[in-house]
Amino acid sequence: MKQAQTHEPSSALAMPHWKAYFIALASVIITTGLAFMLHRVLPLASLSLLFLTGILIVSARLGLRAGLAASILSFLAYNFFFTTPLHTFAVHDDGDVATLLFFLIMATISGNLAARMHREMRQRQDSLHRISKMFEFGRRMSSAAQTGQVLTALVDELAEELNSPVAVLVPGDDGQWREAARTSSAAVPLESVQEAWDRASDEPLALDGRLFLKLGAGPVAMVVVDRAPGQQEAQDLARSFCDQAAIALDRTLLASDLDEARVATEREQLRTALLSSLSHDLRTPLASVIGSTSSVLECGAAISEDDRNELLRNTLEEARRLDRYIQNLLDMTRIGQGGLSLERNWVELHDIVSGATARLDLVPGQFPLTVDIPRDFPLLWVHGALLEQALVNLLDNATRYSPRDGHIGITARQQGDQAIIEVTDQGPGIPPGEREKVFDMFYTASDSGDSLGTGLGLAICRGMVAAHAGSVAAGEGPGGKGTRMRITLPLAQHSGPVPER
């Protein structure tokens, strides 16, 4: 974690005062020592320059106060040890007074220079730091894809720069404020927010020790800084971050509006298709049911027992068909909402096949249906009912488009860590251009005269297989005729063999 930048008074450097004075004293002592060693060799004037050097060094490194201290101490030492009368603090010579004066002036000038240099270096560092932060923030803003990301980045940045918990609040339609983003320790002052909102202009507003900033064109939200920073500079900084965030927000809010519009349109289209499908596909089997049963009632003994039984069988078949259609509708709504919750278990593919064929009243061996699945085909880790439904839909299609004696095949094989399950028929086949479209919802083959299908079966099949991370595709049947529907499913591993007791 970075520490916050503090802006100290210009004369102090990064050192406590007593330490600076101590060093000043020490340097004067060193200089005095040096002077003693050299004073037989050098004239007095040079000695004073020696002291001056010491003063300059102290002043440049430690600042004005230490420099002044050094110059006074240097003068005292120089006076005491080296000027006449020796070992006294009395000053006789005018030149000595001048020396002291010059000592002081030098110390002051160099001390000031040093201090200014330090200050400007620090300011430059701060500027650079701030610029790079802005740049970094700008990058985060332009790459943020969602409103949430923008707001989170904003509160994090502000919290770091201002050293305070930060929160963003949005006004609801009901006049209530709720938080959209916050740092973990931020307290959310719901009461004062409304007041600040009403009072604040475009500039940040300080209220009750907190800083409030309006965010975005609109404005759309309120940024609340728990501990308002004192300096104008910090407030300006907060404001720039908010302005940058506002630009990013424009973009993300627009994007999410577009998304919502798109979803709404799709939902509307689906609803329309659903209503027209319902109307047709619910009524068709019902027409048979109502027609057949009313015939039985109406004609009574006038129709033969065989005819009566046939009518009743029709009624039963159509009613079962209706049941399958309703199941498809239910499944479709679950898929549509992304609400297919998989309850996976270990499932034998053979069981799925026998369940599916039973539901369609297909008996392998009677109807020209052959099943070719190895006895030791791996167990599937799937939601059995959904996979069975997918297979039912494929078989339903196959039987519907198959000619009278047309052969239907169900095969399965393992390929690496995938299971490949295929349903083939000898019907008219699907032209290459339509092989993807058939999986669209409510798609029915346009050349099928009495549109037997509801158009949902394949879409649901795909949805259910996709929920298992698998895929289903249509292709050419064996020998180039008919259709081959291929389901690909990833296989899961079970750990360990079956234990004996």
Partner: protein, 230 residues
């Protein structure tokens, strides 16, 4: 022999209607109730031989009715449930229901299951020495298993599984029940073991898994031995 009395507890009147008509056509005596509480009273008062219980009753949860009933009666119960409520069926079976039907259903299957349940409770309910169904024969004393006269050699657990199924031909047994009986309570979630075992048993019995003659899978619920003609 006394005619068999069946109690139907189901709130949908038209369903009760076709059930009554079909059951009476097969010489059962039918009583009806729309509500769970009333159904329980009728069970106590009239002592039916079999109960058909809808799980979606308006006044009480069908599971609750079953729980209460099982506190004082082991009357055979078939529950009626809708499709995709697998968990509900399994719960009912584990709480003591003997079998289930999924709505919408055809009446012939229901009649078959009723026959199976009533046969199980027949007067000859002492433990038999030989279990058989549709060509399968298991001699519990000699542990010999034959299929259409041919001897079949089964491993220990395969034998246990077949025994369990043959003891209740036509009735569904939940995965949990079977796993507990064969592997013990610690392993009763391990469907994988069961699937593998069923596979092995089917091979030994020469059962085509896509159109099984003997071992039928009730997807998501359990297994049952095909009722067979008797």
């Amino acid at each position: 022999m006394n005619p068999t009395r069946v109690l139907i507890v189901e709130d949908e009147s038209r369903i009760r209607k076709f059930l009554r008509i079909s059951l009476e056509a097969h010489d059962y005596i039918v009583q009806e109730s729309r509500l769970g509480a009333e159904g329980l009273e009728l069970c106590a008062a009239r002592q039916p031989d079999l109960l058909i219980l809808d799980l979606g009753l308006p006044d009480m949860d069908g599971i609750q009715v079953l729980k209460r009933l099982r506190e004082w009666s082991d009357l055979p119960v078939i529950v009626l449930s809708v499709r995709a409520a697998e968990a509900e069926k399994v719960a009912a079976l584990d709480l003591g229901a003997n079998d289930y039907m999924t709505k919408p259903f055809g009446v012939s299957e229901l009649l078959a299951r009723i026959r199976v349940l009533l046969r199980d409770r027949g007067p000859d309910s002492t433990s038999p020495q030989v279990l058989e169904s549709d060509g399968l024969k298991m001699n519990l004393l000699t542990r010999e298993v034959t299929r259409d006269g041919q001897r079949v050699h089964l491993a220990r657990k395969e034998y246990d599984l077949l025994h369990l199924l043959l003891a209740h031909p036509g009735r569904v047994l939940t995965h949990r029940h079977i796993l507990t009986e064969i592997w013990g309570p610690d392993r009763n979630e391990e469907t994988h073991y069961l699937r593998v075992l069923v596979r092995q048993l089917r091979i030994k019995l020469g059962d085509d898994p896509t159109a099984p003659r003997y071992i039928q899978t009730a997807q998501g619920v359990g297994y049952r031995l095909a009722p067979g003609t008797d």
